[in-house]
C-alpha cells in the first residue's frame, strides 16, 4: 500500500505549490509592511502650513489620529481628498504632512477643495517622509494617543477600504489608548 500512497506525492506537491502561488496572486507586492509599526513617531521639528507655527511629534499627542502624507503633485491624493473630508466630518483627527510641496500650491488646494486636516506639517525637503519610510503619497499612518504608529496604509483610502479594514484599525487605536 505505501507504494500506492507514494504515487500521490506529486499531486500533493502540485496542490501545495498551486495554493501557494494562488495566494501570491492576490497579494499586492507594492504593499510593504511599515518598519515603524508599533514604534513611536520619529522626532521632527517643522512648521505648520497655515500659521507657520512650530510642530513637533510631541505636539500631536493626546488623541488617536490619522497622519496623512499628501502633496498637490500627487494625483491620487486629489482622489482621496473628499473621503478624508468625510472622515474629518465624523470627528476623526487627521493631520496632514504636506510632502515635498510648494506652500502656495498647498494653501490654494486647501482653499479650493476644503481642509480636512486639523493641522498640516510642512515637509518641504521630505525629511519627515524619509524618517517615516514614505515611498509613495498618499500614505496614511494610524497613530494612537501616545504617538505610537499602529498601522500604515499606502494608497488611496476610500469608503470600501475604510469600512472593510481601516475602520477597525482606527477603532483599535482608541481602545489601546484607553487601556493605557
Amino acid at each position: 500500500m505505501p507504494a500506492r500512497i507514494r504515487l500521490f506525492i506529486p499531486l500533493a506537491a502540485f496542490i501545495g505549490l498551486f495554493t501557494l502561488l494562488l495566494r501570491g496572486l492576490s497579494l499586492d507586492p507594492q504593499e510593504l509592511p511599515s518598519a515603524l509599526v508599533d514604534k513611536p513617531l520619529p522626532k521632527f521639528e517643522l512648521l505648520s502650513l497655515l500659521d507657520a507655527e512650530p510642530v513637533t511629534e510631541r505636539s500631536l499627542l493626546g488623541v488617536p489620529m490619522l497622519l496623512n502624507v499628501w502633496a498637490t503633485w500627487c494625483i491620487s491624493c486629489r482622489v482621496e481628498h473628499p473621503y478624508l473630508q468625510q472622515l474629518s466630518d465624523q470627528g476623526i483627527k487627521i493631520v496632514g504632512v504636506n510632502y515635498k510641496d510648494e506652500d502656495r500650491a498647498a494653501k490654494k488646494w486647501l482653499k479650493d477643495f476644503g481642509n480636512p486636516y486639523r493641522s498640516n506639517i510642512v515637509d518641504k525637503r521630505g525629511t519627515l517622509g524619509l524618517d517615516l519610510g514614505v515611498y509613495g503619497a498618499p500614505e496614511t499612518y494610524f497613530v494612537d494617543a501616545d504617538g505610537i504608529i499602529r498601522y500604515r496604509h499606502v494608497g488611496v483610502i476610500d469608503d470600501r477600504l475604510w469600512t472593510n479594514r481601516l475602520k477597525a484599525v482606527y477603532e483599535s487605536l482608541s481602545k489601546s489608548a484607553t487601556e493605557a
Binding site: 524618517d131 519610510g133 509613495g136
Partner: protein
C-alpha cells in the same frame, strides 16, 4: 581571396568584442548620472557598493543606484550624508532598515523571518537530492523477486488458461 577572408574574420572578432563589451556594460548603462563629492576614494567605493545593495521601495526591482524615482534620490542623498558623517556600513543599513524594513536590502539579514530566504534554497536542494537518490534506488531495486504468494497466483492463472504464459 585569402586576405579578404582574413579581414572578414577580423571584422567578426571585432563585432563579437563590441557585443561582449556592451553586455558587460549594460548594467552600468542604466545607472543614474549624478555627482557627489567624496572626501576619500574609500567612501566613494562604499557609496557605490551600498547604493547597489539597497533596493528602491517604490520601483521594486531596481537598486537605488539604478532608479530615477525621487525616493531613490533621497536615499542616495541620505547615504552620501551618512557616509560623510563617518557612519559604518552596518549603521547605515540598520538606519535604512529601521525606515523601510528588511525589504530595502537586496541581501537581507540572515536572522529572523529573512533567515528563511537564506535557508530555503539549501532546503530545496537537499530535498531534490533526497528525491533523486530515492528514485535511483527504486530503479536499481526494481527487478525484485516475486513473493511466494504472487508466484502461486501466477501459477493458478496460467494453469486455468485465462492468462497465457
Amino acid at each position: 581571396m585569402r586576405a579578404a577572408k582574413q579581414t572578414s574574420h577580423r571584422l567578426l572578432v571585432a563585432l563579437v568584442a563590441v557585443l561582449v563589451a556592451a553586455l558587460v556594460n549594460v548594467t552600468n548603462a542604466f545607472a543614474v548620472i549624478e555627482t557627489y563629492q567624496f572626501t576619500s576614494p574609500e567612501l566613494e567605493h562604499r557609496y557605490h557598493k551600498l547604493s547597489q545593495e539597497l533596493r528602491c521601495p517604490k520601483c521594486q526591482n531596481q537598486t537605488i543606484a539604478d532608479s530615477n524615482a525621487p525616493i531613490s534620490k533621497d536615499l542616495r542623498e541620505l547615504l552620501h550624508r551618512r557616509l560623510e558623517s563617518g557612519a559604518s556600513d552596518q549603521e547605515i543599513l540598520d538606519d535604512m532598515v529601521s525606515r523601510y524594513g528588511e525589504f530595502v536590502r537586496y541581501r537581507p539579514d540572515a536572522a529572523g523571518v529573512t533567515l528563511w530566504l537564506w535557508l530555503a534554497p539549501i532546503g530545496l536542494l537537499v530535498l531534490a537530492l533526497l528525491i533523486l537518490v530515492s528514485v535511483f534506488r527504486d530503479r536499481s531495486a526494481a527487478p525484485a523477486s516475486l513473493s511466494e504468494e504472487q508466484r502461486r497466483k501466477i501459477d493458478a492463472l496460467t494453469r486455468s488458461g485465462s492468462v497465457k504464459p
